[in-house]
Subunit: 281 residues, 2 copies
């Protein structure tokens, strides 16, 4: 199967490596606007060669878009324009509603499968890519009834092949759920980093005290601003609601602290402990 | 050296195991009000036997208090009352100002070393203990000038021996710094867990989507409420200020999201990215 991957960063690069690792594609073409990423991707053996998206559209059985969501919004319809009915277009973007809306009426909509693998790290670029990124991850396919059955089947062959477990969901539901389970974590982590760094300007010793707990909570604050700003913008209504609920919980807990209400603190934390049920599933 | 450890949970149990591992103590006594923890600690070989604190005070060269900070506040002066000048008392509590204040005028103050190893996990109890917990961690000793030189020397022998790097700090400064680098992370994580769990009551699919990013950010929400409520209460002034600053950052970021101000979002996240400097130190 000829696969072309657009965007050779963490997501696209890891997808290429996973396809190779699992013998899913004999020929992988790469597309990236950054010449250094092109060179690195070929050097790492991620892709066989780099081409233009027009060239890739002529020969690839599958085109995988792994670019930031603002670029996806500009790309999906244009790439669909280039494809014939037996070619497959997949995107791996972290938002789904605006993207699927943008091609809802497109005559080639059936050739498109809107996916979101729940996988990633805080690192970016082809050097951050690794073949095991998708192993065991949950993958969400949105509005799958708008994809042709053959397109869906081909996409699932690849997603299953790299070790993911796919679930199906409406695009609007997806965006609401990831606002809580993914986008909110990123905001909370970015702002925790900012709070500590601001304090550190006057209090030089803070950094020395960072332990593994802080490290874990703030890890996502290393993530790419250029990737995340468009995600927050595209999913702003849902992220804003989730963030308001989060701030309300923080305000309520602050009141318990201010009034030394240890009983209420214990109750709230005991409820939060139930997160084990989700994490240890 | 005879060592007695009060509180055979994650911190105390791991300290006992680390002392054994590094041949620092030939005879370790355990004190714990929970009979199951006593049995487990002896079974695991953490301690030789369990005794009362009065009995331990008669024979131990060093007593290490590893109980929650509310118990510490009730214990430190009482244990100091039992000791002679050549015995050493150490506590491992996460707050330091109220604890050191409570024995500032105690005639035996010099026998006490107020420590806070920046180590821990989200798990609790003797089963969570492991000998490597302290390896490579930073340890803070507060108000060290109020400890006798011989007491400090003996304490450093143990802390160095289990692989920690000790720094010195005033108790008030310590409490301010850990409010940012440790206590705030715990609040942010507990409340993130609560926000997602509350949402999940109506939206059943959320849990399925949890990826490694969420897992990392919410990990501390598994921590012990009984241990953390007294910490927040004892350090309430500092935690409250840190929490207000965190909420202010979240509110400011929410405004950027609501107004789709991607440029300001990118600027804020780029500043937060600088957390790499602290984490990768």
């Amino acid at each position: 199967m000829n696969v072309a991957i657009v965007g050779l960063g963490l997501m696209g690069g890891s997808f290429a490596l996973a396809l190779r690792q699992n013998d899913l594609s004999s020929n992988i073409l790469g597309i990236d606007k950054n010449p250094e990423h092109q060179i690195e991707a070929v050097k790492q053996g991620m892709v066989d060669r780099c081409v233009s998206i027009e060239e890739a559209a002529k020969v690839a059985d599958v085109i995988v878009l792994a670019t930031p969501v603002n670029e996806l919004l500009a790309q999906i319809a244009k790439v669909l324009d280039l494809l014939t009915a037996d070619q497959l277009l997949i995107d791996l973007g972290s938002t789904k509603f605006l993207l699927t809306e943008s091609v809802k009426q497109h005559p080639q909509r059936g050739s498109y499968v809107a996916a979101h693998p729940m996988a990633g790290t805080e690192n970016t670029g082809p050097k951050a890519a690794f073949s095991g990124l998708y192993e065991g991850a949950v993958n969400v396919i949105c509005d799958h009834k708008n994809s042709h059955e053959s397109a869906l089947k081909k996409a699932l062959h690849l997603f299953d092949g790299v070790g993911m477990k796919t679930v199906f969901m409406g695009a609007e539901d997806h965006d609401k759920h990831v606002a809580y389970i993914s986008h909110l974590s990123h905001v909370s982590s970015f702002m925790l980093g900012l709070t500590v760094l601001n304090k550190e300007e006057n209090e030089k010793n803070i950094a020395n005290l960072a332990g593994s707990g802080f490290e874990s909570t703030v890890r996502l604050a290393k993530s790419s601003p250029e990737m995340w700003a468009p995600i927050f913008a595209q999913n702003k209504a849902q992220v804003s609601v989730a963030l308001r609920e989060y701030i309300n919980h923080l305000e309520a807990f602050k009141k318990m602290i201010d009034s030394s209400d240890e009983k209420s603190m214990v109750d709230a934390m005991r409820k939060a402990n139930d997160i084990r049920r989700i994490l240890d599933k």
